[in-house]
Amino acid sequence: MITKLAWRNIWFKPLNTILSVILLTSSVAIITVLVLLEKQFEEKFSSNIDGVDLVLGAQGSPLQLILSSVYQVDAPTGNISYDSAKVWMQHPFVKKAIPLAFGDNYRGFKILGTTPDYLEKYGAKLSEGKLFEKNFEVVVGSEIAQKLSLKLGDAFFGSHGDALEGEVHDQYAYKVVGIAKQTGKVVDNLILCTIPSVWQMHDDHEEENPAHGEEGHVHSDTERELTIEESGMEITAVLLQFRNKMGIIMWPRIIAQNTKMQAASPAIEVNRLFSLFGVGIEALRYLAYGIMLISGISIFIALFNTLKERKDEFALLRVNGAKRMQLLKLVMIESLLLCVVGFVFGTILGRVALVLISNASEEDFKLGFNPYEFIWEKEGILFLLTITVGVVAALIPAIKAYNLNISKTLANA
């Protein structure tokens, strides 16, 4: 009954209530988005670098190299000679080396030349079909298969480079031979084929600006199948996993000094990226706490003002047999109801915002977020924080209600 009365009371002054709820909702929403984004972002980024100790690629920004070759979000730094890369790939320190050759795209999704090891690294098993063996056979990531509704046996032409509007390579058609299972990693949004497919696709129209930074190859008149054994070819990057961890520390310097390539550590670059984001996230977080403080003050002012107007009501409740404690409870519950409503709306709004962010980032970076995840620990703390704001805001009004002098109030009314 007290709760019902509290509920009626907060909606009796809808404007005050709506102001408080809006403030609380926005602060809770911002914090929820931050908490979810931060966690899922880090998870996505960290899960993709599992098993990649160093990335070998063309000189340039190491962050760019990592973003392009591991996360497929940036343009590649350039190409490297496959022959000189092989020297490092076959080094005894190296446990596994996965070469990557960037080629074309199909409706905005990258077609990546690599080896079956790439699928294995991401733990992507095939849900249908088989691995790519011959040139122009492709395995399609689960998201792509779903979005473009590709099936086994489908054939398509790629467009050059990573631009959707790139020139269409209609000489060779790619053929879908396998579809990968969902992994939640970048591989879901890639089309994978053999490296020689990429070479062959660009082999005989170098006059039309071949793959990124690729220098013209010798023009071949024959339509022969290129193989991985081809010499003088180029690839984009190599993902390296080490057997001997010394290599992780030593190689970046050795490679920079002795070759035209660079070796970048994904762990270091991702940390650098997080610390760049970190400043922004921190600022947003403080903003959200600021709004929460303001919402606390708003609740306090609303309760304090209505308390003045409602003195008579409180006195009346006492005359009808209410105890001091019940009045204290009434004020507290009013404040807590506002907080709970604000928290619920904030949690929902935060997730709606995450869906929007997710849609945008999916389009731009092929990076989606899951709005239905609940991080109980952090969101629990957020809930407690919201409740604390409510209790603190209601404290003084509640004590005033508790100490109300009924006789004086009624006599002056």
């Binding site: 009954m1 009365l5 047999g321 001091r324």
Partner: protein, 209 residues
């Protein structure tokens, strides 16, 4: 039934009031009159248990309410004393019916809806049951206050200037309702007033001087 003995009260740094003893049986009425500043409202608040007298005792149905703890006093008041004020106070966010239900819930821990509806019918305001109290006329509001005061079948019904803000017609009606209902529900009715219109209607009067 209510009796008082030797009630004294003083506000801080002010003169002491000594209130005359009173005795009022169930179903009968006592009028307390007196000029402003003589402590009429103070006496009523003491009788209602809203103020603690410095000395003296108030016995309602065998219980000396002065000796009760504050919390027991709150419960006792809710269950045994009904109060009608000069100006009606209501919980503005609740409807007429809910205001009445609240009175029974606070005193007894449960809503007595049947009784609330019956009282509203008796007082001829059942049509207003689901309106907010602010939508009623002053005369109707006063009748709702009477209904609320009678919600828990109180032993004592206290009325503080119940008629002074009403016109003659409404004042007469309210007075009739108060006396007839207090007889019906066997409550001792104590009216505090300086309203000349009602002074000559009651033989049982106490004048504060």
């Amino acid at each position: 039934m209510i009796t008082t003995k030797n009630i004294k009260f003083s506000y801080p740094k002010e003169q002491e009031f000594l209130f005359p003893d009173l005795y009022c049986e169930a179903g009968s009425t006592i009028l307390i009159t007196g000029d402003s500043g003589k402590g009429k409202t103070t006496y009523l608040h003491i009788l209602a248990g809203l103020l603690q007298p410095t000395t003296g005792e108030i016995v309602i149905n065998g219980t000396n309410v002065v000796s009760l703890s504050e919390s027991k006093n709150d419960t006792f008041r809710g269950q045994n004393i009904g109060v009608v004020f000069q100006k009606s106070h209501f919980i503005s966010s609740l409807t007429v019916l809910e205001n009445l239900e609240m009175a029974s819930w606070l005193a007894l821990g449960m809503k007595n809806t049947t009784r609330a509806i019956k009282l509203l019918e008796q007082l001829d305001i059942s049509k207003q049951a689901n309106k907010l109290t602010s939508q009623l006329s002053i005369g109707q509001q006063q009748r709702v206050s009477i209904a609320r005061a009678l919600m828990n079948e109180p032993k004592v019904l206290l009325a503080d200037e119940p008629t002074s803000s009403l016109d003659d017609k409404n004042a007469k009606k309210v007075l009739e309702l108060l006396t007839s209902l207090s007889k019906e529900y066997k409550a001792a009715l104590i009216i505090v007033t300086h309203d000349a219109r009602i002074k000559d209607k009651f033989s049982n009067q106490i004048t504060l001087v």
